[in-house]
Amino acid sequence: MRQRRIIAGSALALTATLLLPACSGGSSDSAGSGGDIDKAPKGAGKTLTIWTYEDKTSAMGIAWDAAMKEFTKETGAKVDFQLKAFEQINKTASQVLNSDAAPDVMEYNKGNATSGLLSSQGLLTDLDPAVKAYGWDSKLAPSIQTTAKYSEDGVMGSGAYYGIPNYGEYVETYYNKDLFKKYDLQVPTTIDEFTQVLAAFKAKGITPLAESAQEYPLGQLLYQLALTQADRQWVTDYQTYTAPADFHDAAWTYAATTLKDWVDKGYISKSVTGQKAQDAGDAFEAGKNPIFFSGSWWYGTFTSEVKFDWGTFLFPGAKMSPGSSGNLWVVPDNSSEKDLAYKFIDITMSPEIQNLMAKSGGIPVAADDSAVTDPKGKELVDNFTTLTKEDGLAFYPDWPAPTFYDDLNASLQDLVNGTKSVDAALSQMQTDYDKGVKEIGG
């Protein structure tokens, strides 16, 4: 049949032309183009496309809004701001940045699996020249700089700057002051005191810890427990593969055993395997569980929604806690307004904007100590500063391997349900970690 042959023939032709390697792969990065950065770019008639995905009412959203207005005032350029979905950026970043639809500057996640991957594939601009011109590195504490620099293989900690963080995040303990007062309990300062507080609540029939094993919270608690028995080198090895990680070492074994112990004693409910992070937060807000170990990203929500008296403290006796820089400003290699992008980034790093972020309940990287007057807000920022001063930001347990987030949660669910013993769960984590790491760093 002629029609059939025609169709088949054109299909083959089409296939042939399209299978030729699409040369739209990452353009060589502009590391060599040490062109002069214009620190006072004229923006009249130009538009800067900015993408972010933080809630507009969050501290970052508020600060960045102000930064955009300031930017337009200073350079005369218009801003095309688009609020994106985290999911969209996460899934399609490599496709979008590799096309004409790429923005001029955008918020992007930190870590090997995200910024590391994109930078190693040549999709992000090398920011070293801009950093030198604007002096941003003097504003960033060393542990914050780790997540801003990536090697050629896309591993953080060394190499050129590919992203600029302008806020931070960390994990701390939220507690229900009213309930603590009711049972005459003090804020614990050591892990033993912490355990005693847990036991005291349990004795009164209250499950002390709000947790979720379906999403990140329980994994972060496990990691924190391990951190209390580990040192900086341990973290560096785990996160940047400088030495193989051993899930049966003292730190991990302690962490998993303690967690199992707490589940058995009822400090953590067995039903956390069916709870999402939102559910855990909801439980804390409703006053059901008096202690919630989770991130600074809950701060704004709790401030506006919680009815009882509450406070925070760093995990007792810990020198390191999960935490890192916040998301990074990255400049796609396909950006057409790089000088304007750098200018915008600089504005977000300026004292006015950083102070505004602090006042709005965020954690800036370079604000004045006197900026925040609200005691809770001050506590939030002070705790972060304590961590950065001691180089105590340990990043997050799921960072080393891209699918480790799901794997870690799966192993913890088995641990809580009793389906796997402590040993078996740790072995499973080892297998998953090793498999995932093999894929990274070429």
Binding site: M1, L18, A22, S24, Y53, E54, D55, K56, T57, Q82, L83, K84, A85, F86, E87, Q88, N90, K91, T92, Q95, V96, S99, D100, A101, N109, Y216, A277, Q278, D282, E285, A286, G295, W297, W298, T301, S304, E305, V306, K307
Partner: protein
């Protein structure tokens, strides 16, 4: 009782009223049947009432009484902020255009293909049908990279046409299969009678075949609209700029990496469902053409 399909299946004439047999008193069994179907319907929609409840709660309300509590007042600020932040009307419009075009052209796609397969009985039609079914079998993520490169080459990346074309094929494949199966059982007498009257292939298609299967076409149109409306992965990948995006992508902005805005999500979900619901209810009437006693011409 064995019935020869092709003799008994009729062509419903339009606008003939339903001859409802109400002469006999409804038996107890029949009342039970009614009760059963109503009960099932209640179970079906009960969870949706939860969405409605939570859509008008303030975040504090939700935090203090949980998702099951009754709202203590109507709170619309969240949805108002969201509406403006993502330019929701624009997203609504995009979704309507995309879903509508896919519905119309998807049905056309299905009709043409099914005509050749089901009535034309072309050689190798089973394999052609299987080839079309591939469109529903291949996982969508497998299509993304090749299509991305193709669309970038021809300049369709970040336009609604990329999405429209993709879903015409994917949903149209289902339509092809359904219609081809239905056409395969089409009463031959109608076709032969028309051919004897001197009608050519095109006329037979539009004047004889299509009117008979109109209820099925209506079902297809409704399905295509709703399925396209709810699609997420492909619009997420190919619609980059904010003013090309659809409702589902817009709603996704409420889901941050770790925090989500539950009450606003519920409210926006309702806003997102409303058009599809309307579409379905409007088309319901074409689906319910009612029983007719047509005769074989």
């Amino acid at each position: 009782m064995s019935l020869d399909q092709s003799e008994r299946v009729t062509s419903p004439a339009p606008e003939r009223p339903v001859p409802q047999n109400k002469r006999r008193r409804r038996t107890g069994l029949e009342w039970t049947a009614l009760a059963l179907t109503v009960l099932v319907a209640v179970v079906m929609i009960a969870p949706l009432l939860l969405v409605v409840l939570n859509a008008v709660k303030s975040p504090e309300d939700f935090a203090n009484h949980g998702p099951l509590g009754l709202p203590s007042g109507i709170y619309l600020d969240g949805i108002r902020t969201f509406w403006n932040a993502v330019d929701f009307p624009r997203k609504l419009w995009n979704s309507i255009v995309i879903s509508g075009l896919v519905a119309v052209f998807g049905v056309l796609f299905s009709v043409l293909n099914a005509y050749a397969l089901g009535i034309g009985r072309i050689r190798g039609r089973m394999w052609v049908l299987v080839a079309f079914l591939l469109a529903t079998i291949v996982p969508q993520e497998a299509l993304l990279y090749p299509l991305y490169i193709m669309f970038k080459h021809i300049g369709l990346y970040d336009t609604i046409w990329s999405v429209i074309v993709v879903f015409i094929v994917i949903h149209g494949a289902f339509g092809t299969y359904l219609l081809a199966s239905v056409f395969g059982a089409f009463p031959k007498e109608l076709l032969e009678a028309a051919a004897l009257d001197g009608a050519n292939r095109r006329q037979i298609l539009w004047r004889v075949v299509v009117p008979v299967v109109r209820p099925t076409l209506a079902v297809l149109a409704v399905f295509f609209f709703i399925w396209t409306w709810n699609e997420f992965l492909i619009p997420l990948s190919f619609l980059v700029s904010a003013d090309h995006q659809t409702v589902q992508v817009g709603i996704a902005t409420l889901q941050g990496e770790r925090i989500m805005n539950v009450t606003t999500i519920s409210a926006s979900a309702l806003l997102g469902i409303a058009p599809t619901l309307l579409f379905f209810l409007v088309f319901q009437r074409t689906l319910t053409r009612g029983l007719t006693a047509g005769a074989i011409k």
